[in-house]
Subunit: 243 residues, 2 copies
DNA sequence: CGGCATCTTGATCCAGCTCAACCAGCGTGG
DNA sequence: CCACGCTGGTTGAGCTGGATCAAGATGCCG
C-alpha cells in the first residue's frame, strides 16, 4: 500500500504526483510500536510529527482512580500530534491499540513541505479542521446519544474513515478494539458495551467477530445513530473512495 | 477595554505593539447580535472570520427530537470559525447566549496578518491548538466525570479562561448561562443541573446568583473536578493574568 | 496443556431522567 | 401602577439506563 497520509490528504485537496513525492521524501524512517504500549506519554515534549502508517492508536487520558477516557481514535494516515512542536507539553497520551507502524516528519521538513506546495499546506489545514469536527462529534455522542446510538455512530464513523483511505472491503472493515477499549471510548463499562453489541447484533445491523466488523444495513445503522457524513468533510475524492 | 483578541493571543505568544495595531486594523466594523439568536446557522457558508468582542456564545448541534448539545463555549477574544473559509459548510450552529458584539476579519486580511508577523501566525496557531485541547477536555468530562465533577470542572475552566482575558474580579466572574444552557452543555437535564448546583452551594464551594459566579474555594473545587490547568496551555502571560 | 485476556451472563443498585406542579422575578400593556 | 404572562428556577415522585460486583465461559498463545 502506498503512503496512507497521501491517500488521506488527497481526500481533502487533490494532490499532484509531485506533492506525493515530496511527502514521501519528507517522511523519515519509520518505527514500530507494540500493541498496548504508549506512543507518546502525557507530559512528553517531542520534536517530530508522528504519522500512523499502519495499525490503530488512540488518544486517551488516564485518571488516578484507574478510569481511562479514550478521546479519539487514530487510523492509518492520521498525524498523531500536529500540535506538539508548538505547545509546551502533552496533555494526554497516545497509545497503540494494535501494533503500529509510525512515520515521522520533522518540524523543519514540515515547514519545507507547506512552503513548497500550497496544495499540501491547504490539505494539512483541512485535515486539522476535519479532525476538530470529529472531536466535536464525539462530544455530541457522549453528551446526547444513548448507548446503542453511540456505538452505532462510532461504527458508522470508523467505516467511513477507513473507506476514505481505502481500508474497507465493501461493508466490512477492521475493528481491533476490545470491548474494554470501546467502553473507555464511549464512556461506558465493557459489560454494558457487551450487552449493547448483542442488541445491535440482534437487530441484524452488524456482525463483529474476530476483530472484523460487517455492517449489514448501513442505512439503518446510520438512521439509528443519527449519523450524517457531513461532519467528516470529505470531498468528492473521499466520498468516491468510500463508495 | 482594548481588543480582547489581542489580549487572548498575547497569552500564547508575546505580541509587539505593532502586532496589536495590525490586529486592530484588520478587524472590520463590528456587528451586534441579540441574545438567543444564531450568529451562524448550520449549513451556512460564510466568508469572514467572526471574533467575539463582547458577550458569550456557544457552538451547538440541534437534533430533530428537540435535544440540543452545546459543544463549546465562546468567550470574548474567541474566534468563532477559524475554519469556515476552508471547509465547505458548517456542521453546527453558533448561537449567542448573551447579546454579542462581533468583529470580523476577512480571509485576505487574515492571510496578510499572518504573512506580516510570524508572532501573530504562531499565536493564532497556538490558539487553535489550545481550543482543540479544550474540546478534548469536554470529551473527557462528558465521558468520565460525574454530574457534580462536570459542573465543577466547567466552572474552573470558565474562570480560568475569563481570568486569562482579564474578565474576572478575584474569584468572581460572569456566568450568564441558564440552567437549561448548562444542561445542554453537560449532557444533562436542567432539573438535574439544578440539584447539582444546590449540592455545590451546599458544600460551600460556589455562589451563583444573578448571573455571577463566585468560587469560594478554588483549590477544593479543582480537586473535586479533577481540574488541571495544563490543558489550557496558557503561557506565563496567561497565568499571570489569571493570578 | 496451562494461564491469561476477553467475552458473557446474572443480580442488584443508583445517578440521572421524566413528568408534573409550583414559585419568583420581570417586562409589557392596559 | 397593577394584572398578566413568560421565562427560568425549584421541588417531588417514580422510573430506567447503565454501573457494580461476581462468576463463568471461551478462546488464544506460549
Amino acid at each position: 500500500m502506498p503512503n496512507p497520509l497521501a491517500h488521506k490528504l488527497n481526500c481533502y485537496v487533490g494532490l499532484s504526483e509531485d506533492d506525493r513525492m515530496c511527502l514521501a521524501d519528507a517522511m523519515s524512517p519509520s518505527r514500530m510500536v507494540a500493541a498496548r504500549t504508549d506512543i507518546i506519554h502525557e507530559g512528553d515534549d517531542p520534536r517530530a510529527i508522528n504519522v500512523i502508517l499502519e495499525g490503530w492508536a488512540c488518544r486517551y487520558r488516564q485518571f488516578a482512580n484507574g478510569r481511562r477516557q479514550v478521546v479519539s481514535l487514530l487510523l492509518p494516515g492520521d498525524p498523531c500530534d500536529p500540535h506538539i512542536f508548538l505547545l509546551d507539553e502533552m496533555d494526554h497520551a497516545i497509545g497503540a491499540i494494535t501494533p503500529v507502524l509510525l512515520g515521522q516528519i520533522t518540524g523543519p521538513a514540515m515547514r519545507d513541505l507547506t512552503a513548497r506546495s500550497p496544495q499540501l499546506a491547504m490539505a494539512f489545514h483541512r485535515e486539522a479542521l476535519a479532525t476538530a469536527a470529529i472531536q466535536r462529534e464525539w462530544t455530541v455522542s457522549l453528551g446526547s446519544r444513548t448507548g446503542i446510538e453511540r456505538l452505532a455512530h462510532l461504527f458508522c464513523e470508523l467505516h467511513a474513515r477507513l473507506a476514505a483511505i481505502g481500508l474497507t472491503d465493501g461493508n466490512t472493515c477492521a475493528m481491533p478494539m476490545t470491548q474494554n477499549d470501546l467502553g473507555d471510548a464511549m464512556g461506558q463499562t465493557s459489560v454494558h458495551i457487551n450487552r449493547t453489541l448483542q442488541e445491535l447484533r440482534g437487530m441484524g445491523l452488524i456482525t463483529l467477530r474476530s476483530r472484523r466488523l460487517t455492517i449489514h444495513d448501513p442505512a439503518a445503522l446510520a438512521r439509528l445513530a443519527h449519523f450524517d457524513t457531513a461532519y467528516l468533510h470529505l470531498t468528492e475524492a473521499g466520498h468516491a473512495a468510500a463508495r
